[in-house]
Symmetry: C2
Subunit: 258 residues, 2 copies
């Protein structure tokens, strides 16, 4: 098994940015950044004091690992266009197949950090679960060693498990965030700033760290307080697009505590 | 205006418990706790080293403030049964009317802490927004003074604003928590523990402290990645009750970024 030291990062979006910094911090060397968008390539390359390119033909061939951190479609396309011989290549996606990489190398795997990333917001990578998969025990070992340098929470998973985790992550992150968007909108007529909800949002997530979501549930739907729910539905007359959602979720919560 | 020093707390649930401790800590004196359930009355009374009762007729008449922290229905009932003359009385509800208290006293108001409470989980009350209302400027002033002792975030609101905030809180807290329940359930077939999602849940809430939910949104629905969404819907065959919700929310998220 080869220890990974030099890395080429394909992509300059949220995941690529945060992962690059975490790898650098862990002592790895990002020898090149690729992005289709030259300003993005330049920005991340400069931030990392490293080489960058927008030309797939100029991708540095001397790295130990190539990380595809583009969108799923772009990753798939890139894996088709790229030929890396026996160089280890991984993607960072929750949903792309492991086998989607077999066209570009004989050694491949998955390095899926389970987190919601933004370019600007620095996060503590050590706490992020990293799910790994590979096409051989040796590659898995190399990825395990690498992942352990940036995270205290490395898991070997199967593709099926990864897909299931990704689906759960949509419910754990993307959908709650959309609920926050609705909360902000329905507050608007009151003239009160969204700010007032932030401690509540924080505590909702903190509570879950200690208590199961089934126990943590509060609110009129759990208490089957129909008077309050009717008033809320009335208030949602101004927001017909959220009325159905309010009713549907309230009903499902109610059913859960029959 | 009279400064509030002695308090009777009606209720021994999550809100009553957390609020009692915050008031005690702020130097107020809880002179009595009432609960219909004798074990709850005794528990909270003992924890506060104070008197407790389960008999509405034995409620101490020498307090400066009576806090109704029961369920909405029980609060309403209690306000009818209780006669406090001109003693200041408040409820802690996001949805009950201010006027629901006028039967039990000539001085009344609302003291609504915007948070999700559990009995056991201690929380930092200082950060919790407290929304206050009262039936007179003097009572409002007394409540403002009191609220400022336990929170750095006191707001005078109207009843309409409070109802709107309460509706928003359902979307900001109760519904996201339900999404966590679904996340836990859809993970089960994978054999992987819910634990793995906790850093993601925490970061989803932390992100919102700095970034608007509209910007913070990530995931396949925002990217309109139909291939992933179709796979997720396929995975949800095992959970038909969540399939419709997945489709509905994904569609609404997609529409938002047209």
């Amino acid at each position: 098994m080869q220890t990974i030291r030099k890395v080429v990062v394909i992509g300059a979006g949220n995941v690529a940015t945060q992962l690059s910094f975490a790898l650098e911090y862990a002592g790895l060397q990002i020898i090149q950044v690729y992005s289709r968008t030259s300003s993005s390539a330049e920005k991340l390359g400069n931030d990392l004091y490293t080489d960058f390119t927008t030309d797939i033909k100029k991708i540095n061939s001397s790295a130990d690992l190539y990380i595809l951190a583009l969108s799923d479609d772009a990753n798939r396309q890139f894996a088709n266009d790229l030929s890396l011989g026996d160089k280890l290549v991984v993607h960072t996606s929750g949903s792309l197949e492991l086998e989607d990489l077999k066209g570009c190398s004989s050694n491949y795997g998955v390095f899926y950090p389970l987190q919601t990333f933004s370019k600007t917001r620095k996060i503590e990578f050590k706490d992020i679960p990293v799910c790994i998969e590979a096409n051989s025990p040796d590659n898995l070992k190399a990825l395990y060693e690498l992942a352990s340098k940036v995270s205290n929470n490395v898991r070997e998973v199967t593709s099926d498990q990864r897909h299931q985790i990704h689906l759960a992550a949509v419910f754990a992150c993307n959908f709650p965030n959309y609920m926050f968007t609705i909360a902000q909108k329905v507050m608007q007529p009151s003239g009160i700033d969204f700010e007032i909800l932030k401690p509540l949002i924080r505590e909702t997530a903190e509570k879950i760290q200690k208590v199961s979501p089934l126990e943590a549930q509060t609110g009129p739907a759990r208490r089957k307080d129909t008077a309050i729910m009717e008033r809320h539905i009335h208030l949602l007359n101004k927001f017909p697009e959220y009325k159905h959602l309010y009713q549907l979720i309230s009903e499902e919560i109610g059913n859960q505590y029959e």
